[in-house]
């Protein structure tokens, strides 16, 4: 849950980097834990879809989605190297310290989706925030209907969490459909944009009583929304998580404000109906 209001909301807590795993090019997964076991226990109650602020002192602070599910034992971030802070994190050696504060944001209301089918549509590193929901839903498998994952990347080498996806598909009763924009010689799967998977022979997307999670680059987002609406999804049944430049994560610095909403405190999770009413392009 969010920290109580008497605390210094800008003061992070020290964390230790345990190990680093290469994911896809430029993207690594960082396993870490708080130095203080009490902080770790408190943090563990985050909701899927929430985010945290990562501090690399001397370089700065940046927001990052939480890819693990609260039901998992280990905490980790999956980070692409884009700017100076993420570069500093990529250079950090296991055993070294950095700092984390959070969790922040509203997260996905997974309890409200009980008894419904879940359709996850992700593009590129958009799978990172959705991974939390997928693992959470599989952990509570009996409470949800059908679970489908539609995931696309530019090339086969850029598909994230591939071994996880394969493992869940085998063991946990979930359908997984992958696609790439450009296939190499070794790729035998589907080629095309993510939306084209909905029409692939043998794929049947449940529309009634279904929540669609969409996360990916803005272009992909626009086209997937169009496809989902064409399939008959209601705007309130499409949810996404937005991203913005953020300094504080707690609704004070003003950077992440889109139209009427602060992404950090009112979001980052919004339904498509809410996104349309923000009053500014996302």
């Amino acid at each position: 849950m969010n920290p109580p209001d008497t605390e210094n909301i800008y003061l992070p807590k020290l964390a230790v980097l345990d190990r680093v795993v290469d994911d896809i090019p430029e993207v690594k997964t960082f396993y870490w834990r708080f130095e203080d076991p009490a902080a770790q226990a408190a943090f563990q109650h985050f909701r899927p879809g929430q985010f945290a602020q990562i501090s690399l002192f001397g370089v700065g602070e940046f927001p990052a989605s939480l890819p693990p599910s609260p039901t998992e034992k280990e905490t980790f971030f999956t980070i692409r190297q884009v700017g100076s802070c993420t570069a500093a994190l990529h250079e950090l050696k296991p055993g070294r310290k950095f700092a984390v504060r959070g969790p922040y944001g509203n997260g996905f209301p997974m309890e409200n989706y009980q008894g419904m089918n879940l359709v996850f549509v992700a593009g590129g590193i958009g799978l990172i925030p959705l991974r939390s929901c997928i693992v959470y839903a599989l952990e509570h498998r009996a409470k949800y209907g059908r679970i489908q994952v539609f995931y696309g990347a530019k090339s086969p080498g850029e598909l994230m969490y591939l071994s996880d996806l394969r493992a869940w598909e085998k063991s946990a009763g979930m359908e997984c459909h992958l696609t790439v924009d450009r296939a190499g010689n070794s790729w035998r799967g589907h080629v095309g944009v993510v939306g084209s998977l909905f029409k692939k022979p043998g794929v049947e997307v449940p529309v009634d009583n279904t929540i669609a999670f969409v996360c990916g680059p803005p272009v992909m987002f626009r086209f997937v929304i169009k496809d989902l609406l064409a399939l008959g999804f209601q705007e309130t049944r499409i949810v996404s998580t937005l991203e913005r430049y953020m300094k504080c994560g707690v609704g004070k610095c003003g950077h992440c404000c889109i139209g009427v909403a602060y992404i950090c405190v009112d979001g980052p999770v919004f339904t498509y109906e809410q996104i349309k009413k923000l009053g500014e392009d996302i």
Binding site: F57, G60, K252, C253, G254, G279
Partner: protein
Amino acid sequence: MKARIVASADVLKIVDLLRARGYEVVAPFCGRGRDSYFDTVTDENRPRVRIHLPNPYYPPKRFVFPHIERLMAVRAQNGDLKMEPTYDERPRAIFGIRSCDVAGLWHLDRFYLGRDFRDIYYEKRRKNLFLVNVVCTDPARDIGEDCFCLCADTGPAARDHFDLQLMDLGGGEFMAVAGTAAGEGLFAEPIFHKGTAAHLERRHAILDAVRKRFKTITSWFSATVRYVSQGTIPDKTWEEIGNRCLECGGCTYVCPACTCFTVSDRQVGPGEVERVRIWDSCALSGFTRMAGGFNPRRAVHDRRNRRFFRKLAYYFIQRELDMACVGCGRCAAVCHGDIGMPSVVEMIRRAEPEPAKK
């Protein structure tokens, strides 16, 4: 609220009383020409403290929200990191703060201390702050060309949120009104005398007269708030406003109700960094730029739209209980493109509204 009368010759003794009580007193001084500024009162500059002068362009906001403020120092020692937050809690009094700026501080209070999270740096500075409000009564020296507190409903006399309010009644007398128990505590001092009904009448007469002396009273805020909130302002109008923006950020730096900041780490010694927050401005193009270079709000009129939307949209008024404009007129005075708040309100009012968007 209790009121007392204090002689003009004694009114600056309030500064001394506060200093004797351990406050760092900040008061307005005159520079050259129109220039005026707030500064800490010392024995040396004490005789130059002014009551009637143009309101300084640099608002007293910086005493609760400095333009650069250290959040914490971080020291690296043998692979370990030590974080030390630093706070400023010294008792401070702002003498001569105008009603618009009192409203500005009240807006900051609701923004930083309300909502889900409390900003502890602001809270610690704010809790020991004593405000001596001065009512603008002198049309030649107090009330500027660009003042429009009447339209923003914040002045000329603040109704609340000060500790002590001073008003020049003329004839060598000031009326002091206590807004808090701390303000009322000062009334035990011998410089304060009981007033009469005649004093109260003079106060009302002066306020009535002052209201008529404002040069700009044509801001149509309520209509503008409605147009902004309903999204009925044509894109063309926003573009016209944007075309006149020089992207200097001046409007946000002089605004007593602007709240945005950025955070930066800087090296201060071997193995030691400090994390500071610095005022930031939605007028600047880097404000929304993300790592990797993508900027969702690229066009200048998008950013201008942003500032006025943030200040005037009904949604934010609902959240903060008031619009984020206090009518001080500073943005109008500093803007080279003449798109301060009064001009923008005027441009929006004159624009042919589009039919309401769903």
